[in-house]
């Protein structure tokens, strides 16, 4: 299976291991990730202002390139996924918005075909659940994480707004727990798994974001977790900074279970 693969900027800088292990695991699962040519930043934050077009263009370009390649667009970073999925939703459901975007893109020159939200956007976890199948993930495990108690941390961006993201039940999600089970570990269900980590508030009011993320890790540890798992670089940053629990990316855990974890560490820049 070939998929269009959108790494995003953070995966090239702060979160290299998220990307590195994602690719390693895909290889084992016979999925070939193909990066869109000249992809740009997703926009970073989804601006809900209807007239804000420019910041969403780069997402649309990635979506359009996946459409032209005839493949679903797979994201790994929660933030990229949120922005791209919401932008795609606008392209499908807001004719006025889609028209403006297409008029912008027509200025790019060359032969132009309009884009109207045709591409299927999948988060890496959705790819594993819906296209690859968790049984196939389970079958690829060579070193099951038996005995490990892993707390899945969803954060907000994957789940909400639920109508658009349609990722899982926003109040009582199960996809990450099912994934953890497939790797042979025991999922720890705790209350704060779908609460906010503090997000970008950290740049403005670090104290209040510290409170939020400390509450998450504390709740996970109290529930008996030894590791907190996340898909989001910003969540990882906030949680690691403000809590005692080790926080790892889901791709890293998967690589470990697949026997692909390398001793040499991917260094953070």
């Amino acid at each position: 299976m070939k998929v269009s693969y959108f790494p995003g900027c953070t995966l090239r800088t702060k979160a290299k291991e998220l990307d590195f292990y994602a690719r390693k695991c895909l290889e084992k699962l016979d999925v070939e990730p193909i990066e869109p040519d000249n992809w740009q930043c997703c926009g970073g934050v989804f601006v809900s202002a209807k007239d804000e077009i420019a910041s969403k263009l780069s997402s649309v370009r990635a979506l359009k390139s996946a459409k032209e390649a005839g493949m679903p667009l797979v994201t790994v970073c929660s933030a990229c996924h949120n922005v791209i999925k919401q932008t795609n939703y606008c392209m499908q459901n807001d004719a006025d918005f889609a028209n403006k975007v297409n008029l912008y893109m027509a200025q790019d020159g060359g032969e132009f075909t309009p884009y109207n939200g045709e591409t299927e956007v999948l988060h890496f976890l959705e790819l594993l659940r819906d296209k690859v199948g968790f049984d196939k993930v389970k079958a690829a495990v060579v070193k099951p994480l038996t005995g490990r108690k892993i707390a899945a941390y969803y954060g907000c961006l994957l789940l909400r707004p639920n109508k658009v993201m349609a990722f899982d039940n926003p109040e009582n999600p199960t996809i990450m727990e099912d994934f953890i089970r497939a790797l042979g570990a025991e999922p720890v269900v705790y209350a704060m798994r779908n609460e906010c980590c503090g997000g970008y508030v950290v740049t403005d009011d670090p104290e209040s974001s510290a409170k939020k993320s400390a509450a998450v890790t504390e709740n996970a540890m109290n529930a008996g977790a030894d590791t907190v798992m996340t898909a989001c670089p910003l969540c990882k940053y906030n949680l690691s900074k403000n809590g005692g629990a080790p926080v790892v990316y889901f791709t890293e855990l998967m690589a470990e279970a697949f026997g692909l974890k390398e001793e040499q560490h991917v260094t953070e820049e």
Partner: protein, 664 residues
Amino acid sequence: MKRIGVFVCHCGTNIAGTVDVKAVAEAMKHEPGVVFSTDYQYMCSQAGQEMIKAAVKEHRLDGIVVCSCSPRMHEATFRKTAAAAGLNSYMVEIANIREQCSWVHKEMPIGTEKAIILAKAAVAKVSLNAPLTPGESPVTKRALVIGGGIAGIQTALDIADAGFPVDIVETKPTIGGKMAQLDKTFPTLDCAACILTPKMVDVAQNEKIRIFSYSEVTDVKGFVGNFDVTIKRKARYVNETLCTGCGACTEKCPMKKVPNEFNLGMDNRHAVYIPFAQAVPKVATIDPNHCLMLKSGKCGLCSKVCGAGAIDYKAKDEFLEERYGAIVVATGFNPISMEKFDEFAYAQSKDVITSLELERLMNAAGPTGGTLLRPSDHQHPHTIVFVQCVGSRCEACAEKGKEYCSKICCMYTAKHAMLIRDKYPDTDVYVFYIDVRTPGKNFDEFYRRAVEEYGVHYIKGMVGKVTPENGVLKVQGSDLIDNRQLHIDADLVVLAAAIEPDKSARPLATMLTASMDTNDFFTEAHPKLRPVESPTAGVFLSGTCQGPKDIPETVSQAGAAASKVIGLLCKDKLLGNPCVAHSDEMMCNGCSTCEKVCPYGAITYEDKEFRMPDRTTKVRRVAKVNEAVCQGCGACTVACMSGAMDLKGFMNKQIMAEVDAICK
């Protein structure tokens, strides 16, 4: 050529504000056939009607056009006026220049132009009107009440009191409905059973009332005065006339672990059961899904202990056919499912309950004998959080909740909070609310008492999340007045679940051809002036099937529905609607298209002999309309490909004349 009179109404400023009524009256004078045209301030008033009568005499009118409000409002009025002036009442046409003209336009020239066009169309139509005479049909002097809750009970008692026989069809084994499950009732705090069960007994003892419990309506045919209804009497495997309700069978039944619906699954009952002590009829019912004898043929204990020999394992569903003059819908409500409200952890924790479950936990006949205990560990809860509007006023979450206000929750939550504080003063009670809505006699005083005398903590704001953790429920909510987040460790969380119409209402509405709104509440004929009648003649509405309401309101509406039924049953004959379809036999080719589209089953076919031009006879299959059943919807006239079907009062040529007049 007809002699037509046109009467243009001002309706105060309702019409005259945006339509130049004098110009309309003047313009009509030049229409073909119009011999008289005038305007008046209130045409529907006594003076206005006298004016019409006088004009009919003076100008020898044989057709009348009234330019006024919707025909739904005053068509009947002006038909009576015409009849009083010696005309056939169907020689009147209404041009609706209010709802469809003056109310929707803002500028006088546009309004006036449109009013003139509408009046011209009405004149064109009335020129082709023919006198019509309504047929008569007899009235079956018996009423059917569907649903045996407090609404159905009250309606049935009131109808029976006037001397007419009534049948109640109730799907459960006993009548009583939701009210039988309640503990106390607001605002007087009298016990629900104490005021309901005497009424249930009255129903049982009333010679005019028959109760078909454990039964369902499966088919309705016919029309007002003569509904033919099929009632399915589900097999209860116990002979109702023999059973004495002694309860010996239930004591001996070995299947003891069947979730008890009456206590909302919070305890168990036997496979053979009597729902509660005061059930009416007080007879046992065998639950075929759990009875060993019915499932595997091994047991038969109840049959052995039954002294009356009432147990009958071979019983089958029976179907009754009955004829009724009127039908009252009283199908009631249910709380919506809380399964999708994961933010309140209803599915995750036993200690998150609905308000109806709390009623059972506080009821002396409930699973805990009336002592308030947490379902999980049977301990006394010390901190209780009530969450109001769960699924009500929930526009954003339409996939799991309802847009409307469920109306009763503010009052019953105040009642619960007050009763708990009264009985267990060591308990802390919090109520989260969006608004407190307590209109009603002595209602706001009741709520104030909960706050001021009983010290219930009312917090304006919603609960965002409930998390079960180490035996407590962590409640996270916001206090909008203090502008802060609250974290409360609760022992019990009570959700005021929105209420929705019973699931049986939708298929029943289809059978009755009664209309419903998007929430599956039955629609009333007029929201203010005809609140207990359905737009379908002979079908009346009682209780929460029409919209959320509390017990006092339900009982008043039940009485109102009964009085409408009594008014109908007092009549010996009903005048039908003469605007019905008829088929031109010479043009009909017997294709069956009209029969297929008729929603009322009014069209049949017959083989008829026709004389041919060459003096032979030929047998052809032609459509025949049963005028008593036809409702005049016109579906057949549109579907008929040979143009044989026509609707009296709305003939094809009349409609075409209207269109021509408008397009001229």
